[in-house]
């Protein structure tokens, strides 16, 4: 048998090799975003013990300085204050400490096991733990190399969960925000509703409302403007096959009375699998919504297998 397919996937697929690839794909790297969840003890007494320990720990912690985190100052420019002092290279961020940059100032934080954070001017950041930081205002650029689902940035209007790799979050003084992803994926969550933003896409978030509908940054201005104004008819009219991601998010966000219009446009632009029915999507059948996601054929979405899927 010709081994070109085995070698570099050129030529006609070798059926056995293709079958093995499909069978083994779930074991591929970054398939296990849910691993930590799976290892969590589930017996009730463990939870009760954890609550008790947390209470004791809280009481003890109040008597001593807050713990250090893995984040260290790697570089800075201008006026940067950390915990009420001028920040210096090699200082370590403590849990709960406020990091504040002035005008025309910036700071770079690094944590060997997690990644790098660049904080822009007029920004305020606190680290809750190694994996959780809070951006109150300003601009944060994160390049993360820890496992998907581990590192999170909370903002006043949404929580950004890194699904591997690089993104920028801007938060206004009013608490609204904009997330732009340059590599990998980021999940944006707020009170049970969420948006998934791939490289090249962006998503606005508003205080009290949470993340909006993501869009690719190279999409038409007409679609972006319609999204900003919440004009569904114009969004549907301006959508192209490249905007399947935007329409997929709309499927679960619009009122039931508008869902049919969104699905019809989605099905007209995206090749929907044969086992997906219009009725199934309209009643928000989780499997059907999943299959619509599959139809987007987005690259590098292995994390999806371990995702919570709250719809």
């Amino acid at each position: 048998m010709n081994d070109d397919y085995l070698w570099d996937r050129s030529g006609p697929p070798d059926p056995e090799v293709a079958r093995l690839e499909e069978t083994l794909a779930p074991l591929r790297y970054r398939h296990r975003a849910g691993l930590v969840e799976a290892r969590r003890p589930r017996v009730w007494w463990a939870a009760a013990a954890a609550v008790l320990l947390a209470a004791v720990a809280t009481w003890q912690v109040s008597l001593r300085p807050s713990p250090v985190t893995a984040w260290q100052v790697a570089g800075l420019e201008g006026n940067v204050r950390l915990g009420g002092r001028n920040a210096e290279v090699s200082m370590t961020l403590r849990s709960g400490q406020l990091l504040r940059t002035g005008a025309d100032s910036q700071i770079t934080l690094q944590a060997d096991q997690f990644g790098q954070i660049d904080l822009g001017s007029d920004s305020e950041l606190r680290a809750a733990t190694d994996q959780h930081v809070l951006l109150d205002r300003g601009q944060l650029h994160a390049f993360i190399w820890s496992r998907p689902g581990v590192f999170q940035v909370a903002t006043p209007s949404a929580r950004a969960i890194d699904l591997g790799c690089e993104y920028t979050i801007q938060v206004t003084a009013a608490g609204d925000g904009l997330l732009r992803v340059s590599r990998g994926w980021v999940a944006f969550q707020y009170k049970g509703h969420e948006s998934f933003i791939p490289a090249g896409a962006a998503c606005v978030t508003r205080k009290q409302e949470g993340p909006g509908i993501p869009y690719f940054e190279d999409t038409s201005e007409a679609l972006r403007e319609a999204l900003r104004e919440g004009a569904l008819d114009r969004v549907l009219a301006a959508a192209t096959p490249h905007d399947g991601l935007t329409l997929w998010h709309l499927l679960t966000r619009v009122p039931a009375s508008d869902r049919a219009r969104v699905y019809d446009r989605f099905a007209a632009l995206v090749e929907v699998p044969s086992d997906v029915t219009r009725e199934g999507v309209l009643r928000l059948d989780a499997h059907m919504i999943d299959r619509c996601w599959d139809a987007l054929v987005l690259e590098n979405t292995e994390w999806w297998r371990g995702w919570e899927r709250k719809w």
Partner: protein, 180 residues
């Protein structure tokens, strides 16, 4: 099949990243992580239980980052990183009875990634092959790398990778024939 210029170009890019990372550029190191994580995971998966391979990828890169400044040439990086991964897999079992290889059926009940039974069965068959074939087949069939990518990432010659793939696949077909 000719070893193409595209691979040579990718190697040059990697070399620049390796040199930058060795000089302390964390962004370059992060990019190397993105490019080499599948290779490291595949090497680990050929040796340790699937439930722990992903965590060990982190360990390998943390260890590599600490030692990178001691690396004298970019060309050495690939074999060096692969060696760190293999050593880490050996350390995993060495002197720690908790990590001793378990019966596969038992192992599946302890935090292994969600995957069909068939995936674990085929993985075990691959792990029974000679080491050179085992590693190359896992990189190809599990991690989804092509032969040229495997050669470029591991530092093996394309001819060696091709031979390993063909012979390994032949043996795997025979095992699968026997298993069915």
């Amino acid at each position: 099949m000719i070893y193409t210029g595209m691979n040579a170009c990718a190697t040059e890019e990697d070399d620049s990243l390796i040199l930058a990372a060795a000089a302390g550029d964390r962004g370059a190191f992060g990019e190397l992580y993105v490019r080499y994580a599948r290779m490291v995971h595949g090497i680990l998966l050929a040796r340790v239980p699937p439930r722990d391979a992903e965590d060990l990828v982190q360990d390998v890169f943390v260890s590599a980052m600490r030692q990178l400044r001691g690396l004298r040439t970019a060309a050495a990086f690939r074999g060096w990183l692969a060696a760190i991964a293999r050593n880490r897999a050996m350390d995993y079992f060495r002197g720690n009875w908790r990590n001793a290889p378990l019966d596969e059926a038992v192992e599946r009940q302890h935090g292994a990634p969600a995957a069909p039974e068939d995936a674990f069965m085929v993985l075990e068959l691959i792990k029974s092959l000679p080491e050179a074939y085992r590693e190359t087949l896992i990189l190809r069939l599990v991690e989804g790398m092509t032969g040229p990518e495997i050669a470029q990432r591991t530092g093996l010659t394309p001819d060696s990778v091709r031979v390993n793939l063909c012979r390994g696949m032949k043996m795997l077909r025979e095992l699968l024939g026997g298993a069915e």
